[in-house]
Symmetry: C2
Subunit: 338 residues, 2 copies
DNA sequence: CTGAAAGCGCTTACAG
DNA sequence: CTGAAAGCGCTTACAG
């Protein structure tokens, strides 16, 4: 039990020679208070190292002073990927500036989902940022309808969703990747796709196809092999592609993990990169710069996207009616695989 | 403003036909209550989806129901590495089982450090888990002395520290790595070390040297090149080593990021792996399995270590006087670089 | 075992 | 602008 003697509002009021109400007014911000009183209170608070008791404050304001960052399901895998930690980091930074706590919530079981729903509806957090929502998970929408400010990382799968989101411009990014491969002289460009039941998977494939079309390349479904955003998936898909198209000389993998798998498959097949085959990934995960050879990839501004997510919930928490979706620009980072 | 009508203890008491005190007793656990009353209260609570108001509870119990996971300083770099997210994930899981919230705190500036110190001393969290402490940062010890339960990820640099910690068995892990290289027939084994102002850097070098000594290999300071746990550092150190020891045929890098850099340097120098040179990393970061070729490495059970950290703070929070340090075993994961 | 009551530390109308 | 007072939703001695 730390500091049995933590200073209270009363003690700073006493020291400043004003009432608790006045002290409270200067410390909690807004109300008009005389310059004299304000200074005295601030001085007293500083001298006592006063920190308001958040529990007491919450009890009356019905604001918890915290926002949940919720991760749905495949926890460990998710944490091992770099996307999540970086979104988290961005959101945390933004929230910290407003002195709101970021509470990390992981939902694996049905019980946990139910408990969180009650918890959130009970006003124990002021808002929620969902990362990694699967398919058309109704939870975010539910909570929103219950009046809780909610935002999503990634465009929702469900077209009818009215939950604001921030997403990278996946279509444009994939187009950039394809264009780059073509510009580098590739003649037979293939792609390892993400899961087709995820928007991000669909969009990156869509961008790739659109760019080939723009270059008057004939599209063929066999040019794409499905992956699952994992290294193993990327390796397997690349092996299949190699079999199908012995003459392939360009690979666009829909994320860096799969691109790493592609690099492994290519090395195993004795193809040199970028000599025989050029490869582009997506995300600019830390692993991209660590690959052999270092991977050319499409960067998405993940940390900035995390900040944006936080900014959006906060606006909603502050009473703003609605908030526009944001689609963040991507950028090609050329390294050694092209 | 979610659910203006969140059920309170009073409403469940009324529905159950008992007093608020009785309802409180059954819901908050311990006290003896008649079976009848208990059932009625539980039923009423379930029907109303009652969730206790944590703010009100905290106000009286002086327990926040939350634990801080604090990260010191080099935020983004730290988040990009896989160690942190995995510790976080383990700690979160363990905390969730006890229904305590994990609040993520990042301390970059001096102001933030001071604010957090006041905040923690003010009882706004029940305990703190420090990850990534630099050198002999006095903050954890400070807080501990102020009565806050604190635990550390990694053995403290400061010998005088009395803060409990959990660490991987770095010495043993490094010995395993060196032994493996030697057993695979390497004759000239070198190492890329971590920063020498970090315990983990020192320990991994110590283990490496000890194992060479055990194999009656003559030690030479030039066999070690300093890295900084980054890919670039690993690449540069390996280049230096290659220059110094043209005949090197085994590299132990003190973490996987640097091992990835070593792989890049070796490829650039035209050395094949594992044909000409064998390489072992440390951590078994996700990047290890994604490397080309897939990296042999020493795994540390990071998620389990995160859980252990949480278990330890919780024990301290529950009033346990002290808690023993834990040193987690490591394990060699052989892949394709050896 | 159970109820009435006090009190945790704030915020915020309500008067003045 | 400022103070006295009520009240947020719990927990916990204190009686019974």
């Amino acid at each position: 039990m730390p500091s049995q003697s933590a200073p209270t509002l009363d003690s700073v009021a006493a020291r400043a020679g004003v009432s608790r109400a006045t002290a409270g007014r200067v410390l909690s911000g807004y109300a008009r208070v005389s310059e004299n009183a304000r200074e005295a209170v601030l001085k007293a608070a500083a001298e006592l190292s006063y920190v308001p008791n958040q529990a007491a404050r919450s009890l009356v304001t019905r604001r918890s002073g915290s926002v949940a960052l919720v991760v749905v399901e495949p926890v460990e895998r998710f944490f091992a990927d770099s996307y999540f930690p970086l979104v988290l980091s961005g959101a945390q930074a933004q929230l910290a500036e407003r002195e709101v706590q970021l509470v990390l919530v992981v939902l694996s079981t049905q019980r946990e989902r139910e408990r969180f729903e009650r918890y959130a509806r009970g006003g124990h957090v002021d808002g929620a940022i969902f990362v990694s929502v699967h398919g058309a998970d109704p939870l975010p929408q539910h909570l929103r309808e219950a009046g809780l400010p909610v935002v999503l990382s990634g465009r929702p799968y469900d077209e009818g969703s009215s939950v604001p989101f921030v997403s990278a411009d996946n279509v444009a990014g994939a187009r950039t990747a394809a264009a780059h491969l073509l510009e580098r002289g590739c003649r037979r460009v293939v792609t390892v796709t993400g899961p087709m039941d995820m928007r991000v998977g669909q969009e990156r494939l869509e961008g790739f196809r659109a760019e080939l079309r723009a270059h008057r390349q004939r599209w063929n479904a066999a040019l794409a092999a499905p992956g699952d955003f994992s290294v193993d998936g990327g390796r397997a898909a690349t092996e299949a592609l190699l079999e199908r198209w012995p003459d392939l000389d360009g690979v666009f993998a829909a994320n860096d993990l799969m691109a790493a798998g592609a690099l492994q498959a290519l090395a195993a097949a004795g193809r040199s990169v970028p000599g025989d085959v050029r490869v582009v990934g997506f995300d600019d995960a830390p692993l991209a710069a660590a690959a052999t050879p270092p991977l050319t990839t499409v960067r998405q501004p993940v940390i900035a996207m995390g900040r944006e997510l936080a900014r959006m919930v906060l606006a909603l928490v502050d009473g703003q009616e609605s908030v526009p979706d944001v689609v963040a620009p991507t950028e090609l980072v050329q390294r050694a695989t092209t």
